[in-house]
Subunit: 424 residues, 2 copies
């Protein structure tokens, strides 16, 4: 195969005709394939479903003398705090165990800053003329949308192989209107970047002008290696504390991709001072989260060792799916020189950069052939990719056979849109 950029017009036309014919053939199959969202596959869910029946007798429902079935304990069961503290490497007293969605805890914290202010806020953010927020991109669309919901101005920070561009971050936080930054520090969404030690150190040592700057640390994939051994990761809470920033950081995690996406447990880790401020305010909206489900998780996951063993079993299911994507791209696209992609070893996505100006067209073609992908631009603030290039591939949900079909379609669409861009 020849690089498309090296082809003559005539060669491109011949190639386009062939690719288009293959594409039209795919269309006749009436495919309905989905690589849009980072959903675990059914086999992963079946694997953990036994946990639903782990609590049976009266005594099973009691933990540290607390009846998990009744009201109370807004910050979660002590046993659940202990489990998540071990997984995150922080202290149990720094853990707030919530409901089934860590996103809801993130939203709750920003909503609190908005209506009431945080521990070190001078005033509630709703009273500020302008609130700006740093969005490393490509990043997670749902993060950006929470910031948008509260009317913030989103500032894009480019991602590098080591994490967000820290020179830029350090510069931007000198503006007191900059109130926070989103991070997925391990296996970032979508690129699978693991922040380097240097990036983490600089994050913890930030000196923001805003006294209530929020270092949002969404450690969504903290134990989600699929192609390597567990990679130990810094305790951001301790690092921030060492740098005099104990109350700057809010870490989040969940079992959405450990147990159940719809019925896992979400947690927040923050300084004890922050939690003391936060608890009575969260208590206004709820008497407590689902402690039975917390206890199911405690009994099923047990500790870090057992949890990592479970993650190995997830990895055994996930790894072939990622390899199927990467193999197809290596075989079908690499020789043509029309796209680059990351080779993640953890997380839930493969991030692909198509030829600039072709992402939207590629995904429109995919849709035409029955393959649903994350919308073009979704990984950028306001849903606008300035290069119209980034495509997020979510290969975890479909079985391998379906995935191979879907990725074959994607490859054809990448080729068509590249040829159209180059001229045919």
């Amino acid at each position: 195969m020849k690089k498309y950029s090296d082809m003559t017009l005539a060669e491109r036309q011949t190639e386009y005709a062939a690719v288009k014919a293959a594409f039209e053939a795919k269309k006749t199959l009436g495919l309905q394939l989905n690589m849009a969202r980072g959903k675990p596959g059914t086999d992963q869910l079946d694997m953990v479903t036994e946990m639903c029946n782990i609590l049976v007798t009266h005594d099973d429902f009691v933990s540290d003398g607390i009846d998990s079935r009744n009201y109370g304990n807004v910050d979660g069961l002590p046993a659940a705090k202990k489990l998540f503290a071990e997984l995150l490497g922080c202290k149990p007293a720094q853990v707030f165990v919530g409901g089934n969605a860590s996103l809801q805890l993130m939203f709750t914290m920003i909503a609190m800053a908005y209506s009431h202010g945080l521990l070190h806020s001078e005033k509630p953010w709703k009273e500020l003329e302008k609130v700006k927020w740093l969005c490393p991109a490509p990043g997670y669309d749902r993060h950006f949308k929470v910031s948008q919901y509260f009317g913030m101005e989103l500032l894009t920070v480019p991602m590098t192989a080591d994490g967000p561009d820290m020179d830029l971050v350090e510069e931007l936080v000198k503006d007191p209107a900059v109130k926070g930054i989103w991070n997925v520090p391990k296996y970032s969404n979508p690129e699978g970047v693991v922040y380097s030690d240097e990036t983490i150190r600089r994050m913890a040592a930030l000196k923001p002008a805003a006294p209530d700057f929020m270092l949002m640390w969404d450690n969504a994939y903290c134990i989600h290696e699929f192609d390597c051994e567990f990679v130990p990761f810094a305790d951001i809470l301790a690092l921030c504390e060492e740098n005099g920033n104990a109350d700057m950081v809010y870490e989040f995690a969940s079992t959405s991709k450990v147990t159940f996406p719809g019925a896992g447990v979400g947690v927040m880790a923050a300084s004890e001072a922050n939690l003391a401020y936060v608890k009575p305010l969260i208590n206004i909206q709820t008497i407590g989260f689902d402690k039975i489900n917390q206890l199911r998780h405690v009994k099923y996951l047990q500790d870090k060792e057992h949890t990592l063993a479970l993650m190995k079993r997830h990895a055994a299911i996930l790894s072939p799916k990622f390899h199927a994507v990467l193999s197809a791209l290596d075989a079908e696209i690499a020789p043509l020189g029309i796209a680059d992609w990351k080779r993640p070893v953890g997380g839930y996505f493969v991030s692909l950069d198509a030829m600039p100006g072709t992402a939207k067209r590629t995904l429109a073609l995919c849709k035409e052939a029955g393959v649903t992908m994350t919308g073009a631009g979704a990984t950028f603030p306001y849903g606008i990719d300035p290069n119209d290039s980034n495509i997020r591939i979510a290969p975890t949900m479909p079985p391998v056979a379906e995935l191979e079909q879907a990725i074959a379609v994607l490859c054809l669409c990448l080729r068509m849109s590249a040829l159209e861009k180059l001229g045919i």
Copy 2:
């Protein structure tokens, strides 16, 4: 026994000495009894615990083709909507099924009005100089606290035997700053009042000046009869619609006192137009609520008939507890003429009005003797009972034997504080 008000000073002094001696004797028992919160008892929880293991096989977790274990369906499983629509008497399309706490849905709706405004809002409430809210009192402290959280001015509306004073409500809603009213229309918290048909009709027909007035209809005890057959109740959504107020009403309910207080299912019912507005905004904070738990409830409760049968079994446990409270009050307090109380046939509380100016003192004495009660004033806006009279008794949690001890202590404390008030 003689009425305290008919006693001479000397008689009161003799009586006080006797009551105080009995009180001091109770103190030596080192009691630790709690009648503070409307918590179901352990026997009630044990009764329903089998539901935790009702989903076992792969297929059990699939409902209408939806895998309850995975992401999605922010407004809940269709089967759960159907169940709650049947219980509330509304349409499935009017139901939003949430997480474990209906309070969180109420909070979410008011937070939404605050930051974004509702369907018919002219602007977000945070931009308004003043927001006022009607609080029928005595009422539910957690309702009042949500309003306070968002900086509202709380206006007290006296409760009558038929519900809130509707003449006053109709007058107050002429003020465009009045944006809503809290209601627990069936077995109100704490008085157990069932709103009369006339009250409900007038509520549904309100003509508030505010276009985004919220009729908050917390039907927390919609099927919670403990001393009579199920009492059919009007569908407030249909009534509001008939009165041209389709989008004014937000109804809430939960299974917190049907299945598990910590792990039930909370729902909101509202017009389809309201839900269409609300869904994408709630979707910003969560991808979806716990659908596995929704499905457990669907399979366990099945339908209205089965659910009402379960409520009969709850009633069999609860009824003796309420009778223990009422019998003690009838025997010990009624002849003395120092308090009045309601005789509820549903709900979770007995509301007692002590001699004005003695509620705080009574509860302080209870605490001294090891009996924890809901704080005096809690049932009024800002936690201030203007008469220092209302006491909320929550008899559901303690076993009957403990409850009898606790209520005996309460009776002694009521007598002491009344005698102190009358002069000794």
